[in-house]
């Protein structure tokens, strides 16, 4: 079936790899987006395992009301670093640094990112920032302990004098710059390096989502960077930007942080939405339903996300404007459009339940729960009721665990393209069930815990029969999720170079499935004609073009050739 691409004889000498350094020196000096992307992937997955280990300790501590596994001080460090590692060092870099770095240039038929050296700098900044932040555990006073949001004055030099806090700020600054550079790179690549025929409305949804993500990065991350510099100046240079004593305003930090923090939610989420969109279309053997509507929904989400930051601050009482409530509620509309488009893509398809597709369906269900509970939080009275309780914790864990399901789907889907080898499907499906069931067992009890009044970030809690069994279930869920992570590592080790993938194992739609697995140095020996957002599909199935509802299938002509 698949067109086996023959490697042109003259191409052999063109692989620059052969001329350059080899081994570790090659990895250190590379500017190849695929190698950098792979480094990102491995680093981000390691961060996920580290952050996950923190989570397991947290849940173990909470399995009894007066847990003594860690001290109160250590507990504050643990949940701070759990949140920081997962948001700053895993989810973000994985979303726009790892798979995006590898796949976006290939999806648009480009040989590399627009600025390959900047791309390498991004990775090394990210790695350095990660190590900087985590090194807080090895200094006197321990790692940062003021929560991943670092609210001033708790993060001031008076309340938190330790250098763990400074390492947290420094590490976050470095990874922030890494994100900004990646944002610049993605924008330039998508705007300028598209192959002939690849118009904006022929770009795959994944690439579209990364474009919106990159724009959001450019709008939001510099604000965080500025805020972090202000915080550092307050701590060490005697400024009083956030300190009441010097005439500053502590709430300003919350405004700055969430002006970055809410777009960040979509910076994290949109790439995974993109992955899931691709996976669902390919494994349903159908085009993305409502392709253009999907793009407008993504653009709308991006635009709205810049005007909703204050819904994180309703209980401060300082920003109680109806504007923020209606903007936040409205985000449900484009998100709902996406949800119906995903269902519409599966509808009357021929669904192939590969591990990647199972992960994508798991994403749909989990994200549905997280999305619907998010609507409550856009309503200030309901936010007063649930803010800083486990309801909120459950809400965003439903969302981010959906993203983890999407990330795993992405790895199973694109892994074969990147490495040339498949992962074992049987272990993959076991991993899916542990991850999916574990996620629900972990998050659903936490919703009830919040409604029953348990605040977040408590190392110990009152003995309360209606809280206890819910905490027990959440801990069981965390253990199941932990097992799924172990299964993933086992699968990678077990499948190592075991199942050769071929160029197009899933009958893919987009350009990455047209080239070899792994792709050659500059990605393509040749390109098919690009006449829709599914050039590889058009090439392989010229008689099956996308249709509007009610239109007849045209007689097979094979005009694409």
């Amino acid at each position: 079936m698949t067109d086996v691409l023959e490697r042109p004889a003259h191409a052999e000498g063109h692989g620059h790899e052969e001329h350059g350094p080899t081994g570790i020196l090659k990895w250190l000096t590379t500017t190849d987006h695929k190698v950098i992307g792979l480094s990102y992937t491995v680093t981000a997955v390691v961060m996920m395992v580290i952050g996950g280990a923190f989570a397991e300790i947290i849940r173990a501590q909470l399995s009894s009301p007066n847990g003594t596994l860690v001290s109160l001080a250590q507990y504050n460090e643990l949940f701070t670093m759990h949140g920081s590692v997962m948001i700053y060092l895993f989810a973000g870099p994985f979303a726009f640094g790892a798979l995006a770095n590898i796949i976006v240039p290939i999806q648009i038929g480009a040989p590399d990112m627009a600025f390959p050296r900047l791309n390498a700098l991004s990775y090394w900044l990210y790695l350095t920032g990660s190590i900087t932040m985590l090194s807080g555990f090895f200094v006197a006073g321990g790692a940062a302990n003021f929560g991943w949001v670092a609210y001033v004055p708790l993060s001031s030099s008076v309340a938190t004098p330790g250098s763990g806090a400074d390492l947290w700020i420094g590490g976050l600054l470095l990874t922030g710059f890494s994100a900004i550079f990646t944002g610049v790179n993605l924008c330039a690549t998508i705007f300028y390096l598209r192959a002939p025929g690849m118009t904006m409305f022929r770009m795959p949804i994944f690439t579209w989502n990364l474009l919106v993500t990159a724009i959001l990065i450019l709008l939001a991350f510099p604000v965080l960077t500025a805020g972090l510099i202000m915080l550092y100046a307050d701590r060490h240079f005697g400024t009083h930007i956030f300190s009441v004593a010097g005439g500053g305003v502590p709430v300003l930090w919350q405004n700055i942080f969430w002006f970055w923090g809410h777009p960040e939610v979509y910076i994290l989420a949109l790439p995974f939405f993109g992955m899931v969109t691709e996976i669902i279309a390919v494994f349903s053997k159908k085009p993305v339903f409502g392709y253009k509507g999907m793009i407008f929904a993504t653009l709308t989400i991006g635009a709205l996300s810049l005007g909703v930051w204050a819904h994180h601050m309703f209980t401060t009482g300082t920003v109680l404007l109806p504007f923020f409530s209606i903007m936040s509620l409205l985000i449900a509309v484009p998100t709902g459009i996406k949800m119906f488009n995903w269902v519409g893509t599966m509808w009357r398809g021929q669904i192939w339940f590969s591990t990647a597709m199972l992960m994508a369906i798991g994403f749909l269900v989990t994200f549905l729960v997280g999305g619907l509970t998010g609507i409550y939080l856009a309503s200030p009275p309901l936010d007063f009721f649930t803010h800083d309780t486990y309801f909120v914790v459950a809400h965003f864990h439903s969302v981010v665990m959906a993203l983890v399901l999407g990330a795993m789907g992405g790895l199973y889907y694109w892994g074969p393209k990147i490495t040339g080898y498949m992962l074992n499907e049987r272990i993959g499906k076991a991993q899916f069930w542990f991850l999916f069931v574990g996620t629900q067992v972990f998050t659903l009890p936490m919703y009830l815990l919040g409604l029953r009044g348990m605040p977040r970030r408590m190392a110990v809690y009152p003995k309360h029969p209606s809280w206890q069994y819910l905490n027990d279930w959440a801990t069981v869920g965390a253990v199941l999720i932990g097992i799924s992570t172990i299964l993933f590592v086992v699968n990678v080790v077990y499948s190592w170079k075991r199942y050769p993938a071929g160029d197009n194992p899933w009958d893919g739609h987009t350009l990455e499935w047209f080239t070899t697995s792994p792709p050659p140095h500059h990605n393509f020996y040749r390109l098919p004609p690009i006449r829709s957002e599914r050039p590889t599909w058009d090439y392989n199935h010229p008689e099956h073009k996308a249709l509007e509802h009610g239109h007849r299938e045209p007689a097979a002509e094979g005009s694409a050739k």
Partner: protein
């Protein structure tokens, strides 16, 4: 064009015939519709203030919407997972657009959202209104405890962590709370009131509580405030008007010395972060 069957072990799904499962899926839905005679609580409770009751009703309204839409989407997902699974190598119709359908699932959610917003504003405007009242309590949060001051009465209640300082307030009366913080951000949260508000340094947060029943309610700091955040408890005791007056008198008499001390700290914004005194 078959996808290369290289997928290890799992491989392509075997086609299964589950023809009449559809009826099995529709039946529970009908049962659910019939059972909805009394509005369920969806995990929340009406609480003990006038506001907490309207918040509770808002909660029910949002929950009905969430359950209906959530059920619809889950049914659609499960339906396609069961009935549109791969059965042959055939390529399905490549439908990509259905404009009327797409418009429908854009416009209906907009209408739902506008309805939710309207309900939100009605409840919120009631909840954040601060009607005139004679009962005022200054609440000051600090690392790691609470101080409740009754201006004009010379009464101060202060306590740290597990000492459970108790705020006493009268039932069926508007009680104005002036909330401040002496150091970091804290959260004033009473579960039975379905309400929380930050105590911010340098900011005066005012809100009004109107309890509808007497009793003792648990409160707690909800915003991370440092080492003993987990233990920063307080209580709210709602009593009758008569009991409230006699409590005030007895407190004022018993702690005349403390009252003199508290006069200085009644200033709303204590600008310099102070370390709390013991006891």
């Amino acid at each position: 064009m078959e996808p290369s069957a290289l997928s290890p072990q799992g491989g392509p799904e075997r086609p299964r015939r589950r023809g009449r499962l559809r009826t099995l899926l529709v039946l529970p839905l009908a049962a659910l519709a019939l059972a909805g005679c009394t509005v369920p609580r969806f995990g929340a409770s009406p609480g003990a203030t006038t506001s907490s009751k309207s918040v509770f009703h808002l909660w029910q309204g949002f929950s009905i919407g969430a359950v209906v839409i959530g059920t619809l989407v889950v049914v659609l997902i499960v339906w396609s997972v069961i009935f549109h699974r791969r059965r042959s190598g055939a390529i399905p119709r490549q439908t990509q657009y259905h404009i009327p359908l797409e418009l429908t699932y854009t416009i209906i959610p907009i209408l739902i959202v506008l309805g939710l917003f309207a309900a939100t504003m009605v409840v919120e405007n009631k909840e954040v209104a601060n009607p005139k009242t004679s009962v005022v309590i200054d609440v000051n949060a600090f690392q790691w405890g609470w101080k409740f001051t009754y201006p004009g009465h010379g009464v101060v209640v202060v306590g740290q962590t597990t000492q459970d300082p108790t705020m006493v307030m009268p039932v069926d009366e508007n009680v104005r709370i002036n909330l401040t913080s002496s150091d970091v951000v804290h959260g004033f949260y009473v579960h039975a009131f379905n309400f929380s508000r930050y105590a911010l340094p340098g900011v005066l947060n005012q809100f009004t509580l109107r309890a509808t029943s007497t009793g003792l309610f648990n409160g707690q700091c909800t915003q991370l405030c440092g080492l003993y955040h987990s233990l920063m408890f307080f209580r709210v005791r709602v009593v009758t008007a008569g009991q409230y007056q006699s409590w005030l008198t007895s407190q004022a008499n018993a702690a005349a010395a403390q009252a003199a001390q508290s006069a200085t700290s009644q200033q709303i914004s204590s600008i310099v972060p102070t370390k709390p005194t013991k006891g």
